[in-house]
Symmetry: C2
Subunit: 494 residues, 2 copies
C-alpha cells in the first residue's frame, strides 16, 4: 500500500475564534466542525457525478485554507492531488473528516478515525436510521465506535456545514456568492431542503452567516448541542433553527433557557399538524411530538416561534439588523392613508400599541407637513404625510418626520411606509434613509412594496447593506416587530 501525500494545501492558519477562552469541552469538541485546521474527505472521488467529487471541488472553490487530505482506496489522483488509501495512512492529525462512503462500511471507518484521534466526522452518506431497522443498527454501531475516543459525529444524512471564516463548504453542487461572506447569523436545521432553502433565501435579504449546520439524523450531535455552541460563540447575534422534533426534550429546554437571555433564538417547527408529524416520521424517523408542548416550551424559554420559512427569515433579519425597541409603542409614518390603515390593523393584530402622536412633537411635525394640513386635520398615528408636492420634498419630509419622531421619549419604534416609486427618486430616498438612520436612535423598519419592474431590488440591497430592514408588506413588518418587542419583554422579566 502506497502512502500518497497531499502537500498543496498545507497552509496552516490560525482561526482565532470570537469567544476567547473555551468554556466547555462540548464547545471545544464542536469547534472542529466550524474551524477545522485539517480536513480529510473519505470517499473522495474523481467522478464528477459523485458527491465525493463535489465536496473536494467545493473545498477548493470555497478556498479552504487548512490541510486537506483525500482518501479513497480505489483512487490515486483527484483534481491533481494524491489520494490516501485510508485514514490510518495519514500521519498528521486530522481535525475533521467528511465521510461519503456506503453506509455499511461507515462504522469501521469511524473506528479507524477514532483511533487516529480525529475530532469530528460529517457523515454525508445516507442509508442509515431513515431507512429502517437495518440502517438504525449501523447507526448505533457507528456511534458506539466513535465514543471510544470522544470523537463527535454530524449526521448521517447531512449536507454538512457552511463556515465562511474557515471556508468549510456544504456537500451540495451549488455555492452562491453570498455564502462566501462571514456574518453573524447561525442557522441550524434538521432538514437538508430547509437548510438550502433558508440559506439561499438569506441571499435575497443580504443576510450573512457565521455558520450553517445541517444536523441530519442526529445520531450523535443534536440540535441542542449546536444551539448551545452558537449561544456561546462570540460574533453570533441571532440563532435560527428548523426542527421537526427533538430527541432530548429536557436538555433542549435547558439549552434554550441558557441561551435566550443572551441571544435571540428564532425557531420554525415542522410537524405541527398530525399529517405533518406523519411526514416527519417517514423522512427522518423522528417523533415530532405534541405541538402544544412545543408552544409551551418556546414561551417559557423565550424562544421566538416563526410560522413559516418567510417569517423565520423576516424575524432573523430584524434581530440581525435592529436594536431592540424599548417597548411596544409604534408610530406609523405613511405616504398613503390606505397603507396606513392596513399597517395599523397589522400592528394591533400583532399586539403592538399605536399611541397618539406625543404632544411634545406635534407642533414640530405640523410645521413639516404640507400647507393644506394646517387646521384641517389632527396630527394622528398613522401619520399620513401624503405624497403631494415635488418628490424631492416628499423624500425630505420622510426623513425630517423620522428625526422628529425619534426624539420623542414616548415612541419605541417606527414603521415607515414608502410610496416612493421610479428610479431617480428611489435613489434619493435610499440615500436619505441611509443618512437619517445614522442620526436617529430609534429602530425602524421600512415597508416598500416591489415596484413591478424589479428596479427597486438594487435600492433594497443598498438599504439592507446599510442595516435597514425592508419589507414588502406591512403585515410582515408588524409581525416581525412584535417579535422584537416580545423578546425585549422576555429579557426584562428574566
Amino acid at each position: 500500500m502506497m502512502k500518497r501525500i497531499h502537500t498543496v494545501l498545507e497552509l496552516k492558519v490560525d482561526f482565532t475564534i470570537g469567544g476567547g477562552i473555551m468554556q466547555s469541552s462540548n464547545r471545544e469538541m464542536l469547534r472542529c466542525f466550524i474551524y477545522p485546521e485539517s480536513v480529510a474527505v473519505i470517499g473522495a472521488s474523481s467522478n464528477q457525478e459523485k458527491i465525493g467529487f463535489t465536496i473536494v471541488k467545493n473545498l477548493l472553490n470555497y478556498g479552504y485554507r487548512g490541510k486537506l487530505y483525500l482518501v479513497n482506496p480505489k483512487e490515486t489522483n483527484i483534481l491533481g492531488f494524491d489520494v490516501y488509501h485510508d485514514i490510518k495512512s495519514i500521519k498528521e492529525d486530522v481535525d475533521l473528516v467528511f465521510i461519503v462512503t456506503p453506509a455499511k462500511i461507515v462504522p469501521s471507518i469511524i473506528e479507524d478515525c477514532a483511533e487516529r484521534n480525529v475530532k469530528g466526522a460529517i457523515i454525508v452518506s445516507s442509508g442509515f436510521g431513515e431507512m429502517g431497522s437495518e440502517g438504525k443498527k449501523i447507526e448505533r454501531d457507528m456511534v458506539e465506535k466513535s465514543r471510544k475516543s470522544g470523537m463527535r459525529i454530524l449526521g448521517p444524512n447531512s449536507i454538512g456545514v457552511i463556515s465562511p471564516k474557515s471556508r468549510i463548504p456544504w456537500a451540495l453542487p451549488l455555492l452562491p456568492h453570498h455564502l462566501y461572506d462571514e456574518g453573524d447569523v447561525a442557522f441550524i436545521s434538521q432538514s437538508g431542503g430547509v437548510t438550502t432553502t433558508f440559506s439561499l433565501m438569506a441571499g435575497e435579504r443580504n443576510l450573512k452567516f457565521k455558520a450553517v449546520v445541517h444536523i441530519g439524523n442526529e445520531s450523535d450531535l443534536g440540535v441542542e448541542d449546536w444551539i448551545e455552541y452558537f449561544g456561546e460563540e462570540k460574533g453570533v447575534r441571532v440563532i435560527a433553527v428548523f426542527i421537526e422534533g427533538v430527541k432530548n426534550g429536557r436538555r433542549f429546554m435547558k439549552v434554550l433557557k441558557n441561551v435566550t437571555p443572551h441571544k435571540p433564538i428564532c425557531i420554525l417547527k415542522g410537524g405541527k399538524t398530525e399529517e405533518g408529524s406523519a411526514a416527519v416520521l417517514t423522512h427522518t424517523g423522528a417523533i415530532s411530538g405534541s405541538d402544544d408542548i412545543y408552544n409551551a416550551v418556546f414561551k417559557q424559554t423565550g424562544a421566538i416561534r416563526a410560522d413559516n420559512i418567510e417569517e423565520l427569515i423576516d424575524f432573523v433579519e430584524c434581530f440581525d439588523r435592529l436594536s431592540l425597541p424599548e417597548g411596544d409603542r409604534v408610530i406609523i409614518l405613511t405616504g398613503s392613508g390606505g397603507i396606513g390603515v392596513l399597517t395599523a390593523d397589522a400592528c394591533v393584530e400583532s399586539g403592538l400599541k399605536l399611541p397618539p402622536i406625543p404632544e411634545d412633537i406635534e407642533k414640530e411635525l405640523e410645521n413639516v407637513l404640507p400647507q393644506y394640513w394646517n387646521g384641517k386635520r389632527n396630527i394622528l398615528n398613522p401619520l399620513d404625510m401624503t405624497v403631494g408636492g415635488s418628490w424631492g420634498g416628499v423624500v425630505k419630509r420622510y426623513s425630517t418626520c423620522m428625526e422628529i419622531i425619534s426624539n420623542s421619549k414616548d415612541v419605541d419604534i417606527m414603521i415607515v411606509c414608502s410610496s416612493v416609486a421610479g428610479n431617480q427618486i428611489a435613489k434619493k430616498f435610499t440615500r436619505e434613509l441611509i443618512n437619517v438612520r445614522k442620526k436617529i436612535n430609534k429602530p425602524f423598519v421600512l415597508v416598500w412594496p416591489p415596484s413591478g419592474n424589479g428596479s427597486l431590488i438594487e435600492f433594497k440591497r443598498e438599504l439592507r447593506n446599510n442595516g435597514i430592514v425592508v419589507f414588502s408588506d406591512p403585515y410582515r413588518a408588524a409581525r416581525s416587530i412584535s417579535c422584537l418587542v416580545k423578546y425585549k419583554k422576555f429579557l426584562e422579566r428574566n
Copy 2:
C-alpha cells in the same frame, strides 16, 4: 374667447367590448370611464410639476387613441397642442373629462360638463369630503349638478383609471411597462396608495389588468357600482377589491351575491381593528364598520377575504391562472422531506386534505422513484422523491410524477415543491414544467424559494407567462389553494 382646436389625436377607434350587448344603463354609464372615445383634461397644464401636465403626458405616452381635448383658460399651448378655454367651447361630444382644478370651482365645471352631455368625470383634485364640512358641501353641490344630466363621477381625490385596451392612464407620474398590456384582472380600490402598491406588485407576478379603478371619495360611483360593472364585463376573470368601508351595505351585498356565482371576488378590507378604523375615518371620512359584519357578508356572498396585500395578490394570481380544483385533495410532490413537512402543515392548517397516494398510481410512482426506494419506504403523501442522482434525472422525475398523479381521479390539485437551484438546471426544469402543464388536466402550484442570486427571477417570469403559479413559501401556496377550494365549494352550493 378663442376656441383652440386640438386636431392631432382625432383618430377615432372602435372599442369593441367583450360583453356584447350592454345589459344595463348603469353598465353603459360606467363604460365611458374604461373605453371613452373622447377625453378632455380640464386643468391641463404646461407646468411639469403639476398633475394637469402629468395627465396629458400620460395620455400621450400611454398612447390614448381617441379624441383628446385640453382645457385651461390660462393656457394656450401644452406640449404643442392647442388648449380650449372651457368645456363649452368644445363643439364635439366628450365622453370623459379629467378634472384637476381647485375644488371650489369643480361644481361649476361639472355643471358645464353636464350641459355638454359629458358622460363621465374623473375628479383628480382633492380638498373635498376628506377635508371636513366645507369640502363635503362642495362635494354634495357637485354631485347634485351632475345628476341633472345623468353624468357620473369617479372621485374626487381619485388617481383615476388604468385601461390598457383604450389607453386611459392613471394620474400618476409613473407608468411601468407591465401596465401597457391588457389582461383579465380588474382591481377596484378605495385607496390611492393601495391602488399603486397592488398595481406595481402585479408586475412582479406578471399579472395583467383589464382595468384598475381608484374610486377615491366615492361622491357618486361606489365600490359596488364597479364590482357590478366588472362582474358583467366579459374578459374579466377575477375581481380584486380593496375597501375600508362601504356606504351602501345593502347594495354592496346584493352586488357581491350577483357576481360571485360567475366570477371570483377577492377582497382586502382595511380598518379591521379599532385603530385601523380610526385611521380610515381620518383619511377618507368613511366609517369602516364592524369587522364581524364584513366577515359574515363575505362568507354569505362567497367573496374571498385576503388578510394582507401579499395574500390578495397571491389569491388573484391563483384565480387568474388556475382552473378550479374539483375538491380539496392535495398531493404534495417534494424533493425535500423538510419542505414536505412544512407544506403538509400549511395544507392542513388551511383546511385542505392530504389523502394517501391513491392505490391505482402507487405502483407507477414506485417505478419512477430512485432504486433505493424499493421495499424501503412506503409511497406516501407528501411524496418525497428526494433529489439524489443527476439533476437531469431529478427534473424528469418531477414531470413524470406529476403526469402520473394527475391521472388519478382521487387527486384534485398538486403542490410541487422545487429543490432545483443553479441556472442550467433551473432552465431545464422551467421548460419541463411548461411542457408537462400542457399534458396534464389537474391544476398545480409550484413552490420555488428565491435562490439568493436573483437568477431564478427570469425563470419564474417564464413560468408565469406560461400560466404556472409560483410561490416562494409553502404556506402561501396552501392558503391560496384553500381559497380556490372554498370558492369551488361555494359554487357547488349555489
